[in-house]
Amino acid sequence: MSAEAAAMSRARRAYELGMLRLGLLRASLVTGTVALLIVLEVTRLPSPAWLALVFLLWLGLGWRGALVWRGALGGLAGGLAALALPLTLLRPCCTPEAMASAASCSPQTCVGAGMILGVAVAAMMPRVRGIGEWSRAAGGALLAVVSLVAFRCTTLFVGESVGLVGGMLATAAGVSVARAWWSKRALS
């Protein structure tokens, strides 16, 4: 291996470690915020172990950076909003009281809540050029949302979880595609 190739390999490793350090900082901030919401009893998680999963996922998102991270920021806003707002207001279907009554546990309520959050996620999505960039940003947003919201509903009813996340993603995708179309139209 030439000196330049060896230097490139080591520089690349150093860069990835630098990004990992940044990922650790980002994951700590997000996990800390979620932990704070739990301590303040604003929200509840199925188990403390979920925090470790949240940390690992956000470590990955923070390390990857670029469009994945920028998309994840939109998901973070939507996810934290879902966690911070009162369950009865945002997701009545997922409250323990609603669970007691099968009739009030309707996935369509979750779809509606998801759609509202989807608009927020889409509004925070970065401007992208092409489907490749869009898919990276949307992937980041999806993972971020899932890490913060979906499992909370999954512990109750899978249908509600799918409704919430599906509604959110469908709206986020629709709004972001409309944004891209509008930007393209404005440029032409």
């Binding site: 490139m8 080591r10 520089a11 150093a14 860069y15 630098g18 990004m19 990857r64 670029a66």
Partner: protein, 174 residues
């Protein structure tokens, strides 16, 4: 066509936010610069090491890079630090054999004396601490003058000469 300074700034800004596609063009643009900077003051092996170390530090800190800032001043600051660190690690060695004759005349006895003087001088320089040896080596034209203010360099040379006189059996002068 090599990237312009503006291109380098943009590449570093992209890399800072995690765009890995910017890594290779940036490395290819900066590595020759790091090597050229190091080779001005170091031998080939030490220069390779210093260039590698420069780029490792630069890329390790890439996520901290302030977007929109110029990259080259930052890069050269790191490169300068690495070259200075490499020079500190390698203790300067003054080649006293290349000095002009210390003793007048050309007879064998005087040549023997001169040989001893050179050996003593070489041993004394070897025994000096690194900054003093570096200053003496710079005065003898054997290495590059340390990056110091003129007054600081003069003070260092003065102290080095004083130490050298003591080591050579002289006395400490004030």
């Amino acid at each position: 066509m090599p990237p312009s300074e503006r291109d380098l700034d943009q590449l570093m800004s992209r890399l800072a936010v995690g765009d890995r596609a910017a890594f290779e063009p940036l490395f290819r643009a900066l590595y020759p610069r790091a090597l050229a900077t190091a080779r001005r003051c170091l031998d080939a092996q030490a220069a390779d090491d210093a260039a590698q170390s420069t780029l490792m530090k630069l890329f390790a800190r890439a996520p901290d890079f302030a977007r929109g800032s110029p990259v080259l001043p930052w890069f050269y600051a790191i490169a300068g630090n690495e070259v200075r660190a490499a020079r500190r690690r390698v203790k300067p060695h003054a080649d006293v054999d290349g000095l002009p004759s210390l003793v007048a005349g050309g007879d064998p006895e005087q040549a023997a004396v001169e040989g001893e003087l050179r050996a003593a001088l070489g041993q004394a320089i070897e025994a000096l601490d690194a900054p003093a040896a570096e200053a003496i080596a710079a005065m003898l034209g054997e290495s590059v003058r340390p990056v110091l203010a003129s007054a600081a360099f003069r003070k260092r040379v003065s102290r080095a000469y004083a130490k050298l006189r003591v080591l050579l059996g002289g006395h400490h002068e004030r």
